[in-house]
């Protein structure tokens, strides 16, 4: 494995970190809680979905664990403009 490739996933992660947050599509959700169970920092993602709210918790790592584990495709990343560089 090349040096560059070895670091690729980490680089991608940081890209997501800076550019998005987790958004639910509540109609797909049955509140099973796999998202909350797998959140490494203990955010109750399920509760956000019940309330129809995006995960804007400052502790969210945007690691994608909840997005990937959800058996029903409820969660997705949505880009935020917060960190997008404005052209000078």
């Amino acid at each position: 494995m090349s040096f560059r490739k070895f670091f690729q996933p980490e680089a991608n992660r940081h890209k997501v970190l800076a550019a998005g947050h987790v958004v639910p599509e509540a109609a797909r959700c049955v509140q099973c809680g796999i998202c909350s169970y797998n959140c490494p920092v203990g955010i109750d993602v399920r509760r956000h979905v019940w309330l129809g709210q995006p995960v804007k918790d400052s502790h969210c790592l945007t690691c994608g664990e909840c997005v990937a584990r959800c058996p029903r495709g409820v969660l997705r990343f949505e880009q935020t403009d917060l960190f997008v560089r404005v052209p000078e």
């Binding site: 599509e25 049955v30 509140q31 099973c32 019940w50 058996p71 029903r72």
Partner: protein, 436 residues
Amino acid sequence: MRRYAIIGAGVAGIAAAEAIRTLDRAAEISLVGDEPQGFYSRPGLAYFLTGELPVKQLILYSQQDWRGLNVRYVKGWATRLLPQAHQVELGKAGALAYDRLLLATGASAVRLDVPGVELEGVVKLDHFEDAQRILRLARRTRTAVVVGGGITALELAEGLAAQKVKVNYFLRGDRYWSNVLDEVESRIVEHRLEEKGVQIHDHMEIAQILGRRGRVSGVQTTKGEKLRCGMVAVAVGIRPRLELAQAAGLATERGILVNEYLQSSEVDIFAAGDVAQVYDPLAGRSILDNLWNPAREQGGAAGLNMAGQARAYRKAIPFNVTRLAGLKVTIIGAVGGGRDDDLVAIARGDSETFRKLPQAIAMEMGAEVNHLRLMVGEGTLVGALVMGDQTLSRPLQELIVAQADITALRTHLLMPGASLGDLVMDFWKAWRTNAA
């Protein structure tokens, strides 16, 4: 101060209580539930069976949530309903007087009608305790037989296979969930189940469950064969829990008949969720839905109506997302027709609208894991089934719900060898831009 009583602490009952509370801070709300765990995710039981979740994770309301909702939770069940007196009898727990009542009693699994169903080891997946019992039994069971169609039967088969139980899955008909899936989709699911070690037997029915010392020891099929097993898991459909309503003289058919305001034949009694057969003005008839989200929406609308804010329940285009043999599957609108020999009643996770055969042309594309079926009507898409990759699911949902005019797309879709996915995606992007 108005007194509200809600019978049933499932998602419809909780949604109603939440809705009432938004309008009436002072109201006295009593919630009667017969499940000791309170409010939990019934569909999540499937992931408890596969070992993806610990059981306590399924419980949805914390002590703090209960305090916030400020309801009186009565553990027990209603034994008699007295509409004239505005009272519900609760057996040993006494009686409850109400001004407005919601029946959100849900539905129960239908029992298999064969000798031997009373033996220990014959299981269903209705409640929390059922799932716990299945896992306990799975620890000392090497072989199981699963019977039934629909989502729950598959959850049982997958759950038991994940617990290292050898599963024999009996299908009465020739393929899996034939009233919703088409043949290719059924075969995809069956093939993936077989990869997980589930052995599928089509045209196979149980004639008798055999037992030894009160426990399941095997089954005898209608063909006369005997198969040894320690567990028989049954999911042949569910039936609304109507007893209370029927005994009280409310209008019922297969469910409690309610109008668009979720109001039954008694003005102060409402019904929502699996037990409610809701009038749909578009279809011109009353429909049963056995899905989590319609139950939540119906409960919410019923709560607002009960608290005095008129809110007609508009049945959305039926939409269900599930996981079949590890594949994400989204079903939107009307996709199938006919009947399913494996079900004697509507299945959990089903809507009668899924099974309405639309006036449409079915188009398919895709391979083993990513499969797409579109039901193309005259000027609109009337239904879709997306299996595997879910990228197209949201665009299709939007186009179907909005009844978008697809005249321009239709001819392209109907061309031989058309790339349906790309065509839909491009069309949706343009449609969205125009709509914005």
